[in-house]
Amino acid sequence: MTTTVSAPPTGSAPQPEVAPARRRRVRAGTIGLVAWLLGMVLVPWLGISDLWMGVGIFAIIAAVGALGIQVIMGFTGQISLGHSAFMAIGAYSSAWLGVEQEQPFWVWLPAAALVAGLAGALFAPIAVRIRGLYLAVGTIALVFIGAYVWETWTTVSGGAGGRLAAPVEINGQDLLDGYWSGGTQVMTLFQAWWYFAFAVLLVVMVLTWNIRRSRLGRSMLAVRDRDLAAGVVGIPVTQTKTVAFAISSAFAGVSGALLTAYMGYFTPGQWSLMLSIDFIAMVVIGGLGTITGAVLGAFFFRAVPEVVNWLSAYLPGISQDAKVDGGVTAPLLSQFVYGLLIVVILIFEPRGLNQLCRKPFRWIQQRREGAR
């Protein structure tokens, strides 16, 4: 398009740059991935406060669960509001194995995935019969039935008072005490847990990445886009949905087991509908159908409440602790902002943060292409 313009020779040759455009974009993605990996490895040594390290660890653990939701919602297109129940199943089975049976974490962590995955596969026969709105509403039942079971089955859950979670022991050391070597502390509890959770997240990310690229992943995408058409071209729709449910529940189970192990102690009350909503928000606001989106969303929604908490100390008229008779408190404000962010982002960028983050780059790219 610039052939008619006799541009002054600046030394740059525009022609050869057009061809490797695609390769350059791939490279940008790789650079981003490597930068993120490096950043995640370096973060524990940057002197970040314990509070924010804790938030980061919660975000990493949440990202594992969010990837599970990504498999069922982003890839397969089935809305599930019941995944907090599968997280709870992972948490209780890991706690039982880790505390009562005194098994090490490399037994209870895969076991949590297995048990939660089995539970997901057991629920699948109901889930595959219903679609769309009915499925979203129907899966709410899981949360309430789960809540009842945890409160009633006190031998496993410890009742309303809660119970101990499985400890993560490496070389005979509980990770919640940090990591010691020869009498000196090599890593604090936050540094040690950051790496442990990050390692699990990497495994789950690679698994999700491979699922997405496999025949199974492509079947899921076909079921998401139009299950009737997918069935016509020979994709086993029911089987694909069942497997997707099992995988996503397994990831949720791992996330639940990690979450409780990090907290050390947990109660039946925390497996609420709100937890399920949390994960759906992460995935949809992060970006449906992408691994980046799930991780991005997890970090975003774990950071937002803390940021609001932190900011509210500087705002007038906000008290820091809960009040019985009303008033704007920091937790309530962060809850409100949480809902507001969901709504605002959905209105302005329904494709999520993932696309929002790419906008500046795309804009620059367009400017460069336009300038040529």
């Binding site: 409160e151 008779d325 309530l332 809902g339």
Partner: protein, 293 residues
Amino acid sequence: MTLFLQLGFQGIALGMVYALIALGFVIMTKGSNTFNFAHGEFVAVGAYVVLALMPHLPYWLAFLGSIVVTVALALLVEATLLRRLLDKGLTTVVLATLGVSIMVHALILMVWGVGTKGSAGPVGSGTVEVGGVVLPLSGIATIVASVIVLAALLVFFRRTPYGLALRATASHQEAALAQGIDIGRMFALSWAIAAVLAVVASIFLASFPRVVSPSIALVALAAIPAVVIGGMDSLIGAVVGGLIVGLIQVLGAGYLADYGGGKLHEVLPYVLMLLVLVVRPYGLFGSRGIERV
């Protein structure tokens, strides 16, 4: 037998409340193709506003004031949010209404706090005895008022032009549009009706022996099994589903108190909902819109 009649009466009274909330869900779903997860919070707003206005105004004015506030809130949400997201897919709509629900819940706690308040019902704690069966006045008021509201709704849908237009919109949007029906106004109307039903339900959900508390929205969510059991697009289904859920909860609380930790009645509606989804995925009265693949 007396116990059964007494529990049955209370079950029907509670069931009518669920029926009103479930009707709201169904009318919104049919009218504007959205499922409003924030509806439970609308119920809560209705109860809290009535309670706030009660000391200053006669009861019926407090009730009307609450209707104005709740309908305004519903219309605001519908116009600013749902209308924009209609073409963005189910996931977006579901999450958006969940976001609204979180916001409204936080606002309620900011304004009224986390504590439990008094009762917001139109009648007090009196009882009448009919043939040895003790009936609370609040239960009688609930049933009478619900039946009146249901009858009014029936007349509205069957006998008024707006009701006809709403039904036309629900059955085929494009055809309704071709007949000159303002679809946008019908969406707003369906949300407004749902909000009115929410306020009516709220005063009975918060009447003796129950009180207004932040968990009232969660109680209102028990109407969701009613919606699914009845069928998501059936008005009659919503009423029948509501009655089933109410009866199960009260009879379960009465007869199953010794089993399963005494809270079995709280999950029975959800268990029944799953069973119905297995046997009849479209509910007892719903149309077979959802096919199996």
